[in-house]
């Protein structure tokens, strides 16, 4: 009965159906398909509840019934985002882009050494990396969490191998110390490392912080990497503005300076990051794709 695993919410069949949809559904009927499937995925209880609990912290005093409909909006945005991603990989059709903080983006492209892009589970992380690769000659290394389902992981790796260009490399955040050394070597060699810094997967070391007044943890990796290598961290967000339209938001870079008190240096960096993160999530809560409660206080 292992084939039934493919139908779990993070199973491989949904990814295959998404690919079928992108390649076969007339584009002028896509909104109907996306609206329907967003509604169907709203039946995914734990994901829906996770989004609703996070919304209750982001929008204090909000009603559960309103957050139910807001959760639909999150699912709707997520569906468009993953469809845009598959479309880009399969047909190289990119969305339109607007830029906010262009001066920081240009500075990032002009960095003589490496840099770290710290981003969040919102908008379209993959498309952002490809946009950067298209506008720059630099190699970008995307760090991401492995898929829960091994079959899905194999499928995604196969798709990525077939469709992703040479200027984008993908690495998976695991406990492996070897991978951390690889990243350090890459960033010292002048590569740009893109990491999602808004939630940590189990087994990854974290730095405790608060987000919207609730205790949580962000991955320690990007901050440790920035301190060890001395490269700047660029907070960067890919915000979905509408159908096939995204905004690249780049904030002022910062360094994690090595001092006698390491934890204090980390705390300062994390506070700066969570400040940007809170501001962006508060404005665009409908596309923060975090389907589990981000804090134990919300569980």
């Amino acid at each position: 009965m292992s084939w039934l695993r493919g139908f779990l919410v993070q199973g491989v069949y949904w990814r295959q159906m998404l690919r079928f949809g992108v390649l076969n559904i007339p584009i002028w009927l896509e909104p109907i398909a996306i609206a329907t499937w967003s509604g169907i995925f709203l039946l995914w209880g734990s994901g829906r509840r996770g989004v609703m609990r996070n919304l209750s912290a982001i929008l204090p005093g909000s009603w559960a019934v309103t957050n139910f409909f807001r959760a639909y909006r999150v699912f709707w945005n997520f569906a468009w985002t993953i469809a845009d991603n598959v479309r880009f990989k399969e047909t190289r059709v990119s969305p339109d882009w607007e830029f906010s903080g262009m001066e920081h983006f240009e500075r990032l492209q002009a960095e003589s050494g490496g840099a770290i892009i710290l981003t969040a589970h919102m908008g379209n992380y993959d498309l952002g990396a490809h946009l950067f690769a298209g506008m720059s000659s630099r190699q970008i290394v995307m760090v991401r969490a492995p898929e829960h389902d091994p079959e899905t992981q194999r499928y995604e790796e196969e798709l990525r191998g077939r469709t992703v260009g040479e200027s984008v490399r993908v690495g998976f955040s695991t406990r492996s110390g070897e991978f951390a050394l690889d990243l350090l070597h890459s960033v010292r060699g002048g590569d740009i490392i893109a990491i999602q810094g808004d939630r940590a997967i189990p087994g990854i070391s974290i730095i405790p912080t608060t987000l919207f007044g609730k205790r949580t943890g962000v991955p320690a990796g990007p901050f440790a990497l920035a301190m060890t290598s001395g490269v700047p961290i660029y907070p960067l967000f890919i915000v979905r503005q509408g159908r096939r339209r995204y905004r690249l938001v780049v904030r002022e870079p910062f360094h994690i300076t090595r001092t006698k008190n390491r934890s204090e240096a980390f705390e300062r960096g994390v506070a700066r990051w969570t400040g940007h993160l809170e501001a962006v999530i508060a404005e665009t809560w409908y596309q923060w794709f975090t389907f589990e409660p981000y804090s134990e206080e919300l569980a």
């Binding site: 076969n24 559904i25 002028w28 109907i32 609206a35 059709v93 339109d96 159908r243």
Partner: protein
């Protein structure tokens, strides 16, 4: 590889960013009256790039197909109840249509004719539109009010076809517009 226009916000009205001829005509008029607008933007030149067009066409087609279901339902239920049942039925019917075309019709045609894979989506779209067109022809000759829904679909379909034919000689002109606005290849 796609083409893009950078820093020219009025490029959003490039007719080649629209799919249906009626929308292309509207975009052409809009582009002719638009002022030069420099902003930090990058617009992709792809015929399905317009959100307004996609949402309008999707809503129009769902409304039309829902009417095909609502008419017989309205004979048994109140109009409101019939409409409430017809919309999900219309959506389900469209799902059945595009899924069966994508799963069975197109693969069979590709096998028989060696149609290139890159034509798949255009072929699927043509067959699905043909399916809705044939349904509209059937409902256009029915005695109930559903024929109004069918006729408006057929009229808009015909109007779009006329404009598409009228646009044919202007293809080089549309391509020149892209160059004028600074269209360039983008290999992201």
């Amino acid at each position: 590889m796609t083409s893009v226009v950078r820093r020219r916000a009025e490029a959003r009205w490039l007719p080649s960013r629209f799919n249906f001829a009626l929308f292309r005509l509207f975009a052409l008029i809009r582009l002719r009256v638009a002022k030069r607008e420099e902003r930090q933007v990058m617009f992709v030149i792809d015929r399905h790039q317009s959100a307004a067009e996609t949402y309008l066409v999707a809503t129009w087609l769902l409304a039309t197909v829902s009417c095909f279901f609502a008419a017989p339902l309205a004979e048994r239920f109140s109009t409101l109840v019939a409409a409430m049942i017809a919309v999900p039925l219309g959506s389900a019917a469209l799902h059945v249509l595009f899924c069966s075309v994508g799963l069975f019709v197109t693969p069979a045609v590709r096998k028989l004719t060696r149609m290139p894979e890159r034509w798949t989506l255009r072929f699927d779209s043509a067959v699905v539109m043909l399916g809705i067109f044939v349904s509209a022809l059937y409902f256009a000759i029915q005695p109930s009010w559903v024929r109004i829904a069918a006729w408006q679909f057929l009229l808009l379909f015909a109007l779009n076809a006329i404009v598409a034919i009228a646009f044919l000689p202007f293809r080089p002109f549309l391509a020149r517009l892209e160059v004028e606005l600074g269209g360039e290849p983008f290999g992201g």
